[in-house]
Assembly symmetry: C2
Homo-oligomer: 483 residues x 2
């Protein structure tokens, strides 16, 4: 059994932050004279109390985490945050979800997935709407810090490739996290502020503009309206969302390097280029289809294709139209686009662009070796040779993603979901997208009607997807505990 | 450009065999006084003429194929056979399909897929029914020879792992093929005869018994009735099919070794054990589901689960019941089972058991390395260490299979197919299973109503799947032609 003290210390700090964050919806509810404020205040104090206790009881820890501690910390901290963040959803009188629903909504929020069990958002209490936005926003920044500071050290699913990229060769997880969290947070706040200002300047009321900016930058997709961003018909608002969903799907570390005087790194980055190529292909196909089938024409067709294509592939999950009604081609395309996702080190999820690029490079090498058995070929990514262990990690990730997808879809169908609902729910949870496909969980549907068991399966899927599968699964390995 | 002479020589020999084979349905039609005999006779003579011309014009070749020639030969010979074998389907007055349909039916036959565009089989002319069975039977033996003698030398998708297994370390493709073709054929004929005798002894008329035995051993699935094996209600007939579908999904090379005095190799084989475990899991889940949901009970539920589960996973594609109506769980399960397939070196197709085992071993190693970065771990398969190039080949195959599946499904949906039809048609073609899912191409449907474009896409998919993807795709690599 590893020493739990540093783990409890970090969880204490995180819970303290969450407790403080809960005061925000409490204050909003007080200012709107909504009785929910009491629940937020009590839940916040409880979270603060637990957080501070853990923090103080374990303070004074110096040094760094062992690998084992880092794995445990990652999964446990996420679980602790989700559990406490669910309290307001379960007890606020304005919403009062079952604990299953509250946990699902909280998990979907913190993992920036955006699947929701709440309908009637347009009339939902302001504190609850704020809390949903805050959860996604906090989840988003947490993921970026984790992807830059923690996962490359854990060599999860090929993320070690990004260790080569930074000039910092430190192996220390905690010092590195502390070092970057400030600049990442500053950048994240700035982006959110610009996005909110843009929404607001195009006519969205201030509170809604801020809430949507927070879930846009997190590529989360929680909205303050059942009609999602479709509630605001002005094209400029939707184009604003497109721009910021794309910006939030790029590697944040490259932004920092660009601001530090190396903008060429961002522009020349293999992953960034691949991401924009994939987006162009998807959106291009959707536009062509819209025009050719006559679903829509002109700017409106262009906007519907760009907005919904970008929303699904970045894993944001806003919807302006019911793309489920666009016919078999669009539905099939959206189904596969869900798996792709954005760049590693951003707030978006899915399999991620760099993994497809590494696998493609490896497959290309395999074919060359088949044809020229005596030639020497190595897979390359971002102008560097890809080490064999990275290829094997990436491919293991891809396979595990598919295996978990199949297992989840089969389990969900066993619980009575029809095939399209089961397949798309499993995909949307694992890839942290948000809406699924079909009448039940599609862009106009909700996850509320699913059986409780399915909601727990999907919650587990969201956590697995967000933590890059392996981070959670190693904990079930007996040899993990035998160190 | 490589020397085409040895390629044309082998294609000549194969076409000559096909031409001779066409005389069989001709004779059957003559004996039944069916006018189709003329088309079979003319097509057979044409094929014989082309085949013998190529054979004689290029005879005298000694030695072996280069790698480049072997790749070209594999794809070209399959295409030539399919093209000529389609002639009777297109011109026999008793059936007279369009050339698209004829090519599709011929491709589905020779690749042992079993998807069909023909309805009204129960009243179809005898020569056509015989020709369909003959095509699958020939395709089946062709695949076994190819999998043992050719693909391991070409290192296609990790098949090189089976080169280690045989005591013969010869790198020569043609001599090795000539050496094993006799014993494989003898075994194949014997198995077919036993299977036919079993069908016949349980009450199936002689001709039908033989036709079904030929498509059972080929795990092809063409039947002489629209109701498939459901037309013969006797349980013993269906259990016979189960036994021989299973036997035909095991590595034929191990049968030869077992007959040569080493039965333990067959019993201890990693792939064989994995295959039976996968079958047990699938069938067990189906039985449980049948019983729990009350679809069926007792022996009848057991038989329906065993028969249809084995039929789909081995890629045979017979159906006794419309399992599409069993509900979301069964449909989802069948969808994923299609991808799995049987053992390499058998007549079954799909991704194949050994690939899942290699990937699982590699993923396990990856996880161990994550947890114990300083430990030494190697992936093992069949009590041997798996070389890194095999892992990379296998994973490249898995990824390419999924990428082609997505590309095909998207293309099919663009042609107007609904999502479930598009997804399941793409899977059933690539994995050479036969029926898809849903109303159109499900177990009670037919591929006849699909648009022509979709039939060509699916034909290409069947060829790609049967030749293990890479064998075909290398031909599109510019560097392949620059040797």
């Amino acid at each position: 059994m590893p020493n739990l003290r540093p783990i409890l210390l970090v969880i204490g700090i995180l819970l303290t932050t969450l407790g403080v964050a809960m005061m925000l919806p409490a204050m909003i509810d007080i200012s709107m004279e909504n009785p929910d404020w009491q629940v937020f205040a009590i839940a916040g104090l409880l979270t603060l109390f637990v957080g501070l206790s853990l923090w103080l009881a374990n303070r004074g820890f110096k040094g760094d985490l062992t690998l084992q501690q880092a794995f445990l910390l990652t999964t446990l901290s996420w679980l602790a945050l989700v559990t406490f963040a669910a309290i307001p959803f379960a007890f606020a009188p304005g919403i009062a979800l079952s604990y299953t629903d509250a946990f699902f909504e909280s998990m979907s929020g913190l993992t920036t997935t955006g699947s929701t069990v709440i309908t009637g958002l347009d009339n939902a209490p302001p504190g609850i709407l704020a809390w949903r936005a805050i959860l996604q926003w906090l989840g988003g920044v947490g993921i970026i810090v984790m992807a830059i500071a923690v996962l490359p050290m854990l060599k999860v699913g090929g993320m070690q490739i990004f260790r080569l990229e930074s000039s910092d060769t430190s192996e220390k997880i905690l010092p590195r996290a502390q070092q970057i969290v400030g600049s990442i947070l500053a950048l994240y706040v700035t982006l959110t502020a610009i996005c909110a200002a843009a929404y607001w300047s195009f006519g969205m009321p201030g509170a809604h503009a801020l809430a949507h900016a927070m879930t846009t930058i997190a590529t989360g997709g929680y909205s303050t309206s059942d009609a999602s961003l479709g509630n605001w018909a002005r094209p400029a608002i939707q184009y604003t969302a497109v721009v910021f969903m794309l910006l939030s799907s790029l590697p944040f570390a490259l932004y920092l390097q660009a601001l530090g005087g190396k903008p060429s790194l961002l522009i020349r980055d293999h992953q960034v280029r691949g991401f924009f190529m994939a987006i162009a292909l998807l959106v291009g196909a959707l536009i062509l289809h819209q025009v050719l089938t006559g679903v829509d024409t002109g700017e409106s067709a262009f906007r519907a294709a760009v907005f919904n294509g970008v929303s699904v592939m970045t894993g944001t999950g806003y919807a302006t139209t019911n793309y489920d009604a666009w016919g078999g081609f669009a539905v099939t395309l959206f189904f596969f686009a869900m798996f792709i996702g954005g760049c590693a080190g951003s707030t978006s999820c899915g399999i991620k662009i760099f993994r497809f690029q590494v696998i493609e490079a490896a497959a290309r090498t395999h074919v060359r070796r088949m044809v020229h058995p005596h030639g020497m070929f190595t897979a390359r990514y971002n102008r560097r040779t890809v080490p064999l262990d990275v290829i094997s990690s990436v491919m293991s990730f891809f396979f595990l993603f598919m295996a978990l997808f199949a297992l989840m879809a089969i389990t969900l169908s066993l619980m009575g979901l029809d095939t399209i609902t089961a397949l798309s729910s499993a995909a949307t949870a694992l890839a942290n997208v948000g809406p699924g496909l079909g009448d039940t969980v599609g862009p106009t549907g909700s996850f509320a009607t699913l059986p409780d068991g399915a909601k727990w399966v999907l919650s587990a899927g969201m956590l697995l997807g967000r933590l890059e599968l392996f981070t959670v699964l190693v904990l079930f390995l007996p040899s993990f505990w035998r160190q």
